[in-house]
């Protein structure tokens, strides 16, 4: 099966939706692909059904009216040649031939290993928030959150709103960095984050900066956590622990296409063009910047793709949110103590059961991979590769297809794609 379009958008979060709206409204034939069953990405998950968030409602309505086509449950798994993507959709697959592409694959949480981090009941911060939004029964459950940045507070607000008892919020950043950053927030159009900050204040959860999890403990699942709080150790009994340290961009599709990356983000010019012709990157791929950055860069890329003039106001907004992203990156940078929590038998790679001790003598990620099977498993190193980068300063390896595990059948080329290149044996 085959699809063709002027513009393919990978990812239907705010970045992808904004790009699709702008380009489709200008008359391009736009195809939007997302691995999830509904549009909205990480932040507007299930808003298509609930419609509680005004901004989300506005964009989702606009998207529905834009004329862009949407394929839910469509995972981009390979890029066999310029202008072609291979997509797995349920038990079938198809190829997309595109004129231009906007990559809007968003971000994932950064997990750093500590003793007990793989116990059931220990999740990411936003991961736990997503589960609660999706219906995890949390009423009356005791929750500890440890991480960094505004998402920590957003998660606390959601859990609180669903009846969970948030016992403690541990923010790893130092007090100076954190409050300096919080004050800056008011200068930015990050309404959602401001709201989160306020609600966290309103629910009056004990919160501390300079605080992080030392260990999670329990028989068969988490029963308690030990925290380091401004140099003191505290123990709390709990049912869930959300622990993750900020976000990192999902660079796999971009790197598969050959886009240049630098300092963990895709390199783009003022027109959001990557170094690969006709391929744009938006949203979290440019460095973590949240919804506002996703929307404004998505709109810009959609307009550029459709060869439309760029409103000056939009460019100004972009420069503002870029400054915010830079501050966020400084605030969220994991502190040194977080790199020393894991003990020799703490797992670093949970797909392949690789403990820290197995990395003895390894000098870089490639050696860890070759000698200890780090990142050789089903998550393809998404979790442990990121952790190893933070822990040891190791840089990432090349992305090889498929960029997500996929049926071999989904990597097969439709005949009209292969015919241009294949030589007969």
């Amino acid at each position: 099966m085959r699809e063709a379009c002027d513009l393919v958008v990978v990812g239907a979060g705010p970045g992808g939706l904004a790009a699709a709206c702008r380009a489709a409204e200008a008359g391009l034939d736009v195809l939007v692909l997302d691995a999830q069953p509904e549009p909205g990405g990480q932040v507007w998950r299930s808003e298509a059904r609930k419609g509680a968030n005004r901004l989300a409602r506005r964009w989702l309505t606009r998207f529905a009216a834009s004329g862009a086509r949407f394929r839910p449950g469509a995972r981009v798994v390979a890029a066999p040649e310029p202008g072609v993507l291979l997509v797995e959709e349920g038990s079938s697959s198809f190829a997309v031939r595109y004129g231009r592409a906007v990559l809007a694959t968003g971000a994932r949480e950064r997990f750093l290993p500590f003793p007990g981090w793989t116990l059931p009941g220990v999740l990411g911060v936003s991961g736990l928030q997503v589960l609660v939004k999706d219906g995890l029964p949390i009423r009356g459950k005791r929750v500890v959150l440890a991480g960094t940045g505004p998402l920590l507070l957003a998660a606390a607000a959601t859990i609180h709103a669903h009846g969970g008892e948030v016992l403690y919020i541990a923010e790893q950043a130092s007090a100076a960095s954190h409050w300096g950053f919080a004050l800056q927030l008011w200068r930015h159009p990050a309404k959602l984050l401001q709201g989160a900050l306020m609600s966290a204040a309103l629910i009056s959860v004990p919160t501390s900066t300079d605080a992080w999890v030392i260990a999670a403990e329990g028989e068969g699942r988490v029963e308690s956590v030990r925290l380091s709080v401004r140099g003191r150790e505290e123990q709390l009994r709990c049912d869930y622990l959300g622990a993750a340290y900020g976000l990192v961009p999902n660079l796999e599709v971009a790197r598969l296409l050959g886009c240049e990356t630098s300092a963990g983000a895709v390199v783009v010019n003022e027109r959001l063009e990557t170094r690969v012709p006709k391929v744009h990157a938006v949203g979290e791929l440019l460095g973590i910047g949240g919804v506002d950055q996703a929307l404004v860069t998505g709109e810009l890329a959609g307009l550029v793709a459709a060869e439309q003039p760029i409103p000056v106001e939009l460019e100004r907004t972009w420069h503002r949110v870029r400054a915010f992203a830079a501050q966020l990156a400084r605030h969220d940078a994991p502190r040194a103590e977080l790199r020393r929590l894991a003990t020799p038998d703490t797992l670093l790679c949970r797909c392949e059961d690789v403990p820290m001790s197995a990395l003895e003598g390894c000098q870089n990620l490639r050696e860890a991979r070759l000698y200890a099977r780090l990142g050789m498993g089903a998550c393809q190193g998404r979790t442990c590769g990121t952790a190893a980068q933070t822990l040891f300063g190791w840089s990432g390896e090349d992305v090889r297809p498929p960029c997500l595990p996929a049926r071999i059948g989904s990597l097969r080329l439709p005949s009209d794609v292969s015919s241009t290149h294949a030589r007969e044996s």
């Binding site: 390979a78 066999p80 040649e81 000098q363 870089n364 490639r366 050696e367 070759l370 000698y371 050789m376 498993g377 089903a378 393809q380 090349d398 090889r400 297809p401 498929p402 595990p405 996929a406 049926r407 071999i408 059948g409 989904s410 990597l411 097969r412 080329l413 794609v417 292969s418 241009t420 290149h421 294949a422 030589r423 044996s425």
Partner: protein
């Protein structure tokens, strides 16, 4: 300036195996590797330890090497994943089945255990295979392993005997009696061995080694799909053409429950990128043999460069025009297998010992003397 009996340039499986043997013989050895041990072609190979009978010299080296691996097996860490699963050479038609009887005789003459499976026996041994295959040749003692860790094991054993492991140390120049590292450091040695795989000609211009690119695919862990290393006999037809790209069905069970799938050959191609059209041909071919293939979960596809020589045999021995330089390179698609035998042959020559097999067919002199070059040009 450091002095050694022997400096080995290149820490792939070949250089590492040699360091293991020479250090066991009491030599002082430096193993100098530009990046990491086993991270070159060795990390890309399939790890099939296979007796191959294209010609007598190949059979002699591969069958001896497989038996050396078998002797080593008990001492290898589990993570090296040595698994004596044997090989099934699959016959798709009567012509290929006819070739099986000749091969059985060949193997048995070389002391390699081999037997013929008819269609029913094959189906019973490998139920995942497509029905309708005519039969197979089973080579009992062939095995598989995980090459980069095998190389690392050799290197660490040598290190434990006092050898110096130098990783992240590219060699810039080879001289009579010394090698110069890219940082300017000079290592002196009585013997200098070049074991830099496809990169060998960069340090010794004129070596008849060229890249022959291959693709592999690995699946996620799951129930074992196949139980032997499977290779199509048609491989003999497709794999050894000298021009153009070719593919052949090649499937390997890993002890992790993963299926490793090969392979392709692109002579002269030194690029690293996955060639989607060739991968498609490889998968299409494999799906003919394994009808359930398309439903398996692929985890990763990668490529590697085989160091190919014109006659498919490695270069083992002194360089005829630079007697101070020893060669252990050009192992093409069999270097994991033949690393053990190659290491012995080179060590025996360095130490003036007689070897278990005749070393002459692998002598670099067959290409690198004035007369051999004239023959090659004629």
């Amino acid at each position: 300036m450091s002095a050694f009996d022997c400096v080995i340039v290149g820490g792939g499986i070949v250089g590492a195996a040699l360091a293991d043997v020479l250090s066991a013989d009491g030599m002082s050895v430096a193993l100098v590797e530009a990046r990491s041990i086993g991270a070159g072609t060795t990390a890309c190979g399939m790890g099939h330890l296979v007796a191959m009978d294209d010609n007598a010299a190949e059979l002699a080296l591969t069958s001896w090497s497989v038996s050396l691996w078998r002797e080593l097996a008990d001492g290898l860490p589990r993570a090296v994943e040595y698994d004596a699963c044997g090989t099934l050479w699959l016959a798709a038609d009567d012509e290929e089945m006819a070739a099986v009887s000749a091969k059985v005789a060949n193997y048995r003459a070389a002391g390699v255990r081999a037997e013929v499976l008819d269609s029913a026996a094959l189906q019973e041994a490998e139920p995942a295979l497509a029905p309708g295959l005519v039969g197979a040749l089973r080579v009992v003692d062939d095995a598989v392993l995980y090459p980069p860790l095998a190389a690392r094991t050799f290197a660490l054993r040598a290190q434990a005997r006092g050898a110096r492991l130098m990783t992240g140390c590219p060699v810039r120049e080879l001289r009579s009696g010394s090698v110069v590292l890219s940082n300017g450091e000079v290592l002196t040695a009585r013997y200098i061995v070049l074991a830099a795989g496809v990169a060998s000609p960069a340090l010794c211009p004129g070596l008849p080694i060229s890249p022959r690119k291959g693709h592999l695919l690995i699946t996620r862990r799951g129930a074992p799909v196949v139980h032997h290393q499977l290779v199509e006999l048609g491989y003999l037809k497709s794999a050894h053409g000298t021009d153009g790209a070719s593919v052949a069905f090649n499937a390997q069970p890993r002890v992790t429950g993963q299926l490793l799938l090969g392979s392709s050959r692109q002579p002269g191609d030194a690029t690293r990128e996955v060639d989607a059209a060739l991968l498609e041909r490889m998968l299409k071919r494999a799906a003919m043999f394994l009808p359930g293939l398309d439903g398996l979960q692929a985890l990763r596809v990668w490529t590697g460069l085989r160091p190919a020589t014109p006659d498919g045999l490695p270069l083992l021995g002194p360089h005829p025009e630079k007697p101070w330089l020893w060669l252990a390179c050009g192992h093409e698609g069999l270097g994991i297998t033949t690393a053990t035998g190659s290491a012995r042959l080179v060590a025996d020559q360095l130490l003036g010992r007689t070897s278990a097999i005749d070393a002459r067919p692998y002598s670099p002199a067959r290409f690198l003397t004035a007369s051999s070059r004239e023959v090659a040009h004629a």
